[in-house]
């Protein structure tokens, strides 16, 4: 791990932007129809529990990376394999998000540009950022946070003032009871975006004041969760459930419906900026975690040497993981949550925590 420190506000911003990332853009939890915001709420609640799990691990080993403490907890070999699996998981997720970015941009604006070129441009930027290290990432985050919030607030004012919001679109609440909502939360919102915060187990050791980690993490998760709930509720209130369901990017359609005074319209650029800011931070963090983790596992003295080759891997992976957007999204919604998100976000951390607990008890007895 590199010698660098970030402060609590920077961590807060990184978690916040990371959570909004791609979740802001897609029809999150729309399977819960009018109650999508409720499903996001349940996801948030469980997401905070997940955060508490890996925060507990962090508290036990405040100065070491997960790849290090895993070897401490479950033995050198097994821990190494698990750490390696985590690095691959983060690398795969960065490729997935990069693919999200490329397909979105191609769908919305650049129909004739090859996916490879679009992805290449972003990954070059990300390689550069990661090369500069965590402090630069954190400062970039601060800057982008301000931009994103100004956009979000002005966008919200524009939507409200053009009278687009029809709250009756959000009714009826709980039409088929709570079961379908929990179902969506369990299969989707817990893992994406809230469970994905597991990647911050790699970032936490950089925090200059470890005591603040818990508070900052929970606050950032809550704020991003509330923001996502508002965005989804606004989408549904403006577009109605039907259209939101059919849209690849409901937020874009919502922004496109703004028409004020015959000249404030077609504000697609709001969406584009949110897309690029959110996704940039999200991939950067996943990628950074993978690079740092692999550097630690393979005892690479200069971690920066890994960045270019791994960037190339992410780029090629992002092009080859799916042959079309439907396949890509289906994988993300149906397959990945069960075979990847569930074990990596909940099962393994819980298992590690259990062993730590048992070890401690044994120590105390002895």
């Amino acid at each position: 791990m590199e010698k660098a420190k970030i402060d609590a506000i920077q961590l807060f911003i990184l978690i916040f932007l990371f959570e909004l990332g791609s979740a802001l853009l897609v029809p999150l939890a729309i399977e819960a129809e009018e109650d999508a915001w409720l499903a996001i709420f349940f996801g948030l609640a469980v997401g905070i529990l997940i955060f508490l799990i890996f925060h507990a691990l962090y508290q036990t080993y405040p100065d070491s990376l997960p790849t290090q403490y895993m070897r401490n907890i479950i033995g050198n070999y097994l821990g190494w394999v698990l750490g390696f699996a985590y690095c691959l998981y983060f690398l795969y997720l960065s490729a997935r998000v990069l693919r999200d970015f490329g397909s979105m941009l191609l769908t919305i604006a650049y129909h004739e540009t090859p996916l490879f070129i679009v992805n290449l441009l972003l990954i070059l930027l990300i390689i550069y950022t990661v090369y500069q290290g965590i402090e630069v990432m954190a400062r970039t985050g601060e800057l982008l946070f301000v931009i994103l919030y100004v956009l979000a607030i002005s966008g919200f004012i524009l939507i409200v003032s053009s009278g687009l919001i029809d709250l009756s679109n959000l009714k009826p609440v709980l039409e088929d009871g709570i079961v379908p909502i929990l179902n969506v939360a369990i299969t989707q919102t817990i893992f994406v975006p809230f469970g994905e915060a597991i990647v911050f187990s790699v970032i936490l050791p950089y925090l200059n004041n470890p005591k603040k980690a818990k508070k900052v993490g929970i606050l950032a998760l809550c704020l991003s969760g509330i923001n996502l709930m508002i965005v989804m509720a606004v989408n549904i209130a403006v577009l109605g459930v039907n259209l939101t369901k059919r849209s690849q990017f409901p937020l874009l359609t919502t922004i496109q419906s703004i028409q004020i005074a015959d000249f404030l319209e077609r504000l697609d650029v709001f969406f584009m900026l949110a897309l690029i800011i959110g996704i940039f931070i999200k991939i950067t963090i996943f990628f950074y975690a993978a690079v740092i983790g692999l550097g630690d596992l393979f005892k690479v003295t200069n971690v920066k040497q890994l960045i270019y080759p791994l960037g190339l891997v992410v780029l090629l992976l992002s092009n080859s993981i799916a042959s079309n957007i439907t396949e890509h999204i289906q994988e993300g919604l149906v397959i990945i949550p069960f075979i990847l998100h569930f074990p990596f976000q909940i099962l393994f951390p819980l298992f590690l925590l259990l062993i730590v607990y048992l070890k401690k008890r044994k120590k105390n007895k002895a």
């Binding site: 769908t107 919305i108 604006a109 650049y110 129909h111 004739e112 540009t113 070129i117 441009l121 070059l124 009756s168 679109n169 009714k171 009826p172 039409e175 109605g240 039907n242 259209l243 059919r246 359609t253 496109q256 419906s257 028409q259 319209e265 077609r266």
Partner: protein, 403 residues
């Protein structure tokens, strides 16, 4: 050495990567489509008419003061089995690529909407990222969409703009049409809880509208005018509502902004005019004895616009009486509109939607036979409250009381 090399490398990379010249399209390679018209021919193919703006004749003529020889728009037509095909086939005729981001109106022929329905038409428009679904959609009443697209208009040069402005002005001035957006129609088509309504537009006279001479006179040979509201059942046009009935529909959709309500006074027909300035209509679904009912409540504010008989407007009691008459008139219009929709078994007001959101359990029972049974037997309780706020610059008319 490395530093010098780097200094050259950075601009070199930036120049190649940051220019964004991939698939560039300059403005002079695009044909801006201002309106799309869709008809159907005898062979069962779609006929698409694309109104394309002539940039030269729109921009230049005013500053030089000379009228150019070419009209402000050009219309290309093509035939195909689907909408994407229509636009592709134009490339055999037009010199530029069609660009749809600035399309302001979509015209659908009445015949097509009546016989085949519109559900197959809109997917291409919905899916394409270039086309905006906030674009207005209208029905060419008693006319081919092609003829409507071809008409040149006198005041606003680009006909599509003219039509849009006309619809908007008419919507605010009379409340007898609604400016339906493509997205709203698609929304209504995708649910059972609402049926679409689209404003119809007609030609005053059949004429050679495509010639520049037709607008080079004080009274153009043919102009486009609003022709009522088209009621759809599912995706098929079933009936037209005009004037007062049309206004009733717009009231129920809470889209009326300003309008004039004329009432009879002591045997004189439409002798007092009430200028409505603002109104708010709420529709509330209720269930009585297991049957759906709808409570409509209109609240209107306005002023007296014209009095053709001698009435003492300085007397508050008179104003009360006028208010009551206005209430009756509005109530009548609303019931006419509801009757019309019931006759055609088409829930254009989205009552189904409000039942679904207020009474989800009951809705499960209504859902299957909503249009056929429940909607067509729906009881509507209409309550109107109108207020006269001012009477204009005069209180008593100059007419002496003759009665």
């Amino acid at each position: 050495m490395i530093r010098v090399f780097g200094l050259f490398l950075i601009p070199a990379i930036s120049i190649t990567l940051l220019t964004g010249c991939w698939s560039t399209t300059e403005l002079n390679e695009l044909a801006l489509v201002s309106a799309i018209g869709i008809d159907k021919n005898e062979e069962g193919e779609y006929v698409g008419s694309f109104q394309i703006i002539n940039p030269g004749s729109v921009a230049g003529s005013k500053s030089t003061g000379q009228g150019t020889a070419s009209p402000p728009v050009t219309v290309y037509t093509s035939t195909a089995k689907n909408l994407v095909g229509l636009s592709r086939n134009i490339s055999a005729k037009a010199s530029r690529r069609l660009y749809f981001a600035h399309t302001s109106v979509v015209v659908i022929a009445e015949e097509l909407a009546r016989e085949e329905g519109i559900k197959n038409l809109l997917d291409a428009l919905d899916r394409d990222p270039e086309f905006r679904t906030t674009t207005a959609i209208i029905i060419a009443k008693n006319a081919r969409a092609r003829d409507l697209i071809k008409i040149l208009t006198p005041i606003d040069q680009i006909p599509a703009e003219n039509v849009i402005k006309m619809l908007k002005t008419n919507e605010t001035m009379s409340g007898e049409n609604i400016n339906t957006k493509t997205r709203q129609v698609i929304d209504a088509l995708s649910t059972k809880e609402r049926d679409p309504v689209i404003t119809g537009v007609e030609l005053t006279r059949e004429a050679e509208g495509g010639k520049l001479e037709s607008i080079q006179q004080t009274e153009p040979e043919s102009i486009i005018q609003v022709g009522g509201i088209a009621l759809f059942r599912n995706d098929r046009l079933v009936d037209w509502a005009r004037e007062k009935t049309a206004r009733g529909i717009v009231f129920l959709l809470n889209k009326v902004k300003e309008t004039d309500i004329s009432i009879d006074w002591k045997g004189n027909e439409e002798a007092v005019v009430y200028n409505m300035i603002r109104q708010h209509t709420t529709v509330k679904p209720v269930i009585k004895n297991g049957k759906p009912e709808i409570d409509v409540h209109v609240k209107a504010e306005g002023i007296i616009g014209e009095v053709q008989v001698a009435i003492d407007l300085s007397n508050p009691d008179t104003l009360k009486r006028i208010e009551q008459e206005v209430n009756k008139e509005i109530q009548g219009e609303l019931s006419k509109a509801i009757e019309k929709a019931k006759e055609n078994k088409t829930d254009i007001f989205g009552f189904g939607e409000s039942f679904h959101s207020t009474y989800p359990e009951h809705w499960k029972r209504f859902e299957k036979e909503w249009n056929d049974t429940y909607f067509s037997e729906l009881k509507a309780n209409i309550k109107v409250e109108s207020f006269i706020r001012r009477t204009g610059l005069r209180n008593k008319p100059y007419l002496k009381d003759t009665n």
